[in-house]
C-alpha cells in the first residue's frame, strides 16, 4: 500500500518540526557565552599608511660585502630554518648580485661600483602584489598599512604565490623546519611542513611600536624605514635627496623597496 497524500504531508511536517526542534536544543545546550570582549591595537603601535624601506647600497657595501648582520638578525628573530640543500632553502631577507637583482637594468658596462656586488633583497611588499591576487584562501593579504602579510594558519601550501611572485621572495617548507633551526626565539612561533613563508615586514614588531629587526640590526644604518605617505618621514627625506632604483618596475607590481645608489 502506498502512502496517502495526507499521511505524507503529516510525516513531512513532523520531520521538519523535529529538525528545527533539535537545532534549537543544540543552541540551548551550547555553553554560556560571556559578554564579548574588546579588541584593541597596542598603544605603542607604529601608525602608517604605506610602510617602505630604502637601502643605502653605498653604506651597505662600504661595511663589507660579507656583512650579513641584518640577515642573521632576521633568522634568529623569526626562527628561520637553515638548510644545507639549496632546494630546501627558506629565506626572508637575503643577498644576490646586482645582475640578478636588477636583471632588467643590467648591462655589460655597468659601473664597477655595483658590478658583481651583492644587494640586500627581501619581499617588496608591493602595492599590487601578484601573490595576493592568486592566493585561493586569502592566506596572503595586504594590510591597510601596505604590508603584504601571510596568515600561516590559512596557508594550504598550494604554492600559487611562489609562481606569481616575480622577486623569488617566497619559499615552501618541504620539510619540518624545527630540526633545522639553530637558535630559537622563544617569543616567535616556527612554521610547519607544507606552508609557504616570506618576509612579513616584522608586523609583529610594528604593531608593538618597534622597527623591523633588520633596520635595528644594521650597524651602519644603511636600512631606512618609514611611511611613504608622510612627507617628513625619514624615508621620504632620503628619497628626496638621493636617486633610487626599484626592482622589476616594468611588471607593474609597484614595489616598496628602494635602493639608493
Amino acid at each position: 500500500m502506498g502512502v496517502s497524500r495526507r499521511e505524507f504531508l503529516k510525516l513531512a511536517g513532523l520531520t521538519a518540526a523535529l529538525g528545527l526542534g533539535t537545532g534549537t536544543a543544540f543552541e540551548l545546550l551550547a555553553p554560556g557565552q560571556v559578554e564579548a570582549g574588546e579588541y584593541l591595537r597596542s598603544e605603542n603601535a607604529l601608525v602608517g599608511k604605506r610602510w617602505a624601506m630604502a637601502f643605502d647600497v653605498k653604506k651597505c657595501l662600504a661595511n663589507g660585502e660579507d656583512c650579513r648582520i641584518c640577515i642573521d638578525a632576521c633568522i634568529n628573530e623569526h626562527n628561520i630554518p637553515q638548510y644545507d640543500n639549496p632546494l630546501h632553502e627558506i629565506k626572508w631577507i637575503w643577498k644576490d648580485l646586482y645582475r640578478y637583482a636588477f636583471e632588467d637594468t643590467e648591462n655589460p658596462y655597468v659601473s664597477d661600483e655595483y658590478k658583481d656586488k651583492p644587494f640586500i633583497l627581501l619581499c617588496n611588499h608591493c602595492d599590487e602584489p601578484p601573490c595576493v591576487r592568486v592566493c585561493p584562501t586569502q592566506a596572503t593579504f595586504r594590510r591597510p598599512d601596505g604590508i603584504v602579510m601571510q596568515d600561516m594558519h590559512r596557508c594550504i601550501g598550494c604554492r600559487f604565490c611562489m609562481a606569481a611572485c616575480p622577486y623569488g621572495s617566497r619559499n615552501f617548507n618541504w620539510l619540518d623546519p624545527r630540526p633545522h633551526i639553530v637558535h630559537y626565539n622563544p617569543k616567535y612561533p616556527t612554521r610547519r611542513r607544507g606552508v609557504v613563508e616570506k618576509c612579513i615586514f616584522c608586523n609583529e614588531r610594528i604593531d608593538l611600536g618597534k622597527k623591523p629587526v633588520c633596520v635595528d640590526a644594521c650597524p651602519v644604518g644603511a636600512i631606512i624605514f618609514g611611511d611613504l605617505h608622510d612627507p617628513n618621514s625619514p624615508i621620504r627625506q632620503v628619497l628626496r635627496k638621493r636617486f633610487s632604483i626599484r626592482r622589476k618596475l616594468e611588471l607593474g607590481t609597484k614595489p616598496s623597496m628602494f635602493y639608493l645608489i
Binding site: 555553553p31 637553515q82 637575503w94
Partner: protein, 137 residues
Amino acid sequence: MYDAEKIIPGLIVFLIIVLFPYYYTMGRMVPAPKPVKPTKYKKCVEPLAYMRAAHMDLLNVWRDEVVRHEKRVYVSSTGKEWDMSLQNECLRCHDNKAKFCDRCHNYLGVKPYCWDCHFEPNKVKELPHKMTTKETM
C-alpha cells in the same frame, strides 16, 4: 524475507562490530583528566566555565584579530587587558603544556594543530636544533 539465513547473521555481525566500543568499555571507568592549574595566578582571561567550554573559540578569534586586523590587545569582560598571544600570554601562566593542555586534549582525542608551530617558550632546549650552519653567500 528472502535470504534471511544470510541477512540476519550479517546484521548480527554488523552490530557486534559497530557496538564493539560500547560493550568493550562497559563497566570500566576512564578517570576524568586532571589538568594542573597554574599556582601563581588565580584568574584566567575569562571566567573558568567559559574558558573550559570555549577557549578554542577565544583563541580562534584572537588569531584572526592579531594576524588579520592588527589588534594585539584583548580587553576581557572584567575589563583587564591581555596580550593576545598563545605562546607569550597563555603559556606564561600555563607553563606546563603536558600537564595542562595535553591532559584534556589526549583524553578527548583532539589534536589541535596549534603546536605544529607554537611551542612552549620555557622548553626551547627540548626542541630539535640544528647543530652546524653552512654559510651561504
